[in-house]
Symmetry: C2
Subunit: 215 residues, 2 copies
C-alpha cells in the first residue's frame, strides 16, 4: 500500500521523499492532540488544518481512534529504538539492562508526564488498541531476553531461563515504564530523583538475583 | 468520639455491642456500593435504606466521598491484617515474603476484580483520598522491612539497608498488588495461573538478590 510508505532519506543525495498523505494526517493529528488534547480534537479539526475534507481523512483512517493507533505505533517504535541502542551499548549485560531501564524511565516521564496530553493519548490506546501495546511489549520482552541470555552465556549471570527472567525484568521495572504508574508516582509527589534512586535499588536486587540464579 | 467505636464482642457473654450509627451508615453504604456501584449510589439512597434523613447522614459524614474513605480504610485494614498473619507465619524470611505476596495477589484479585464495583470504589479512593492509601502503603512498608531485617539478622539474607529493600519489594510486587495493574492483567487475558507463576519467578529473583546482597 503506497500510503504506508514512510518519509525516508534518499540514499544518494540525502533529500527526503515527500510524506505520504497518511503521514501528513498523522503528523497534523499528533500536533493537534498535543496542543488541544486527544478528546477535544475532532476529525473535522484535523481536516481543516490540512485543507481537506473529513471524507478524505476517512479514506485513510476509518476513525479518530485509528489515527491515534497509528501515532501510538510511531511513538512506541521510537521508544523501542532508544531501548535497542541501550541494549547494544558497551559494557556488561547488567549495565545494558540498567541503561534500558533508565531509558524507559526518562522517556516515560518526558512522554507521558511532561506532555500530559500525550499521556491521555497513550492511555486511550491502552484501552482501545491493546494490539499495538502488546506488540511493543513483545518486542521489549525479546530485546531484554537477548541481553539476559548474553549475560548467562558469558557467565556474568547464573544459568537459567532467559525468557522467564525477561518477564521478571518487565515486572520489576513496571513502576517506571507503565504510563499509569509513572503518572501516579509523579502525582503523589515522588520527585524524579527519588524515583530514579528507587529504580536503581530495585534493579540492583534483580541483577544480584540474576548473578546468583534461582535454581 | 463515641461514633467511631467499632462493633466488638463482649468478653463475658460473647454478645456484640450494637454498631454505632457511623458504622451502620458505612455498612449500608458498602452494601449499596457493591450492588449498585459507587457512582450510582447517592447519599439519599443510603438514607432511605437506613430509614433516616440525608441530613442525619451528613451529621456523620460530610460527603459520599467521606463514606467511601471510611469503607476503604476498613477494607485496607482487613487486607493488612492478612499480611500481618503471613508475615508472622512459620518458616524462613523468604517464605514469609512469598506468603505476603501471595496474600496480596489473591486478595487483590478477589477484591478488585471479582468485585468490579469494589474496584471502582478503591479507584475513587486512590484519586480522592490518597492519605488513606498512603497510610496503608506505609504500614505495608514497615511490615516488609521487619521481615527483611529479620532475614538479614539471621544471616539468611546478606547485610543491607532493610528499608530500601522493603521499598524494592513493593515495586517488585506492584503488578499483583496495585488495583489498576491487577485489573489490566485480568483484562488482557492473563489467566490467574499465569499471573501467579510470573509472580513466583519475579519474587525468586528478588529473594536471590537479597541472599547475594547488593553491596
Amino acid at each position: 500500500m503506497i500510503d504506508v510508505i514512510h518519509q525516508k532519506q534518499n540514499a544518494v543525495d540525502g533529500s527526503t521523499v515527500p510524506a505520504t498523505t497518511r503521514d501528513r494526517i498523522a503528523d497534523t493529528a499528533e500536533r493537534l492532540f498535543r496542543s488541544m488534547g486527544y478528546q477535544k480534537t475532532a476529525v473535522a479539526d484535523i481536516a481543516r488544518e490540512l485543507g481537506m475534507s473529513p471524507a478524505n481523512i476517512y479514506r485513510f483512517f476509518p476513525s479518530k481512534s485509528a489515527i491515534n493507533e497509528a501515532i501510538t505505533e510511531r511513538l512506541l517504535t521510537a521508544l523501542f529504538q532508544g531501548a535497542e541502542a541501550a541494549a547494544s551499548s558497551e559494557g556488561t549485560a547488567a549495565s545494558r539492562l540498567a541503561a534500558m531501564a533508565e531509558h524507559f524511565r526518562a522517556s516515560s516521564i518526558a512522554l507521558f508526564f511532561n506532555e500530559k496530553r500525550m499521556h491521555d493519548m497513550v492511555s486511550a490506546a491502552i484501552s482501545e488498541h491493546w494490539g499495538v501495546i502488546a506488540g511493543y511489549i513483545d518486542r521489549f520482552h525479546g530485546l531484554t531476553e537477548s541481553v539476559i541470555r548474553a549475560g548467562m552465556e558469558s557467565g556474568e549471570f547464573a544459568d537459567g531461563d532467559a525468557a522467564a527472567a525477561a518477564m521478571a525484568f518487565k515486572q520489576v521495572t513496571l513502576a517506571w515504564h507503565h504510563p499509569m504508574m509513572v503518572e501516579e508516582c509523579m502525582r503523589i509527589g515522588e520527585g524524579e530523583e527519588v524515583m530514579r534512586a528507587q529504580m536503581q535499588t530495585t534493579l540492583a536486587y534483580f541483577i544480584a538475583g540474576l548473578k546468583r540464579g534461582i535454581r
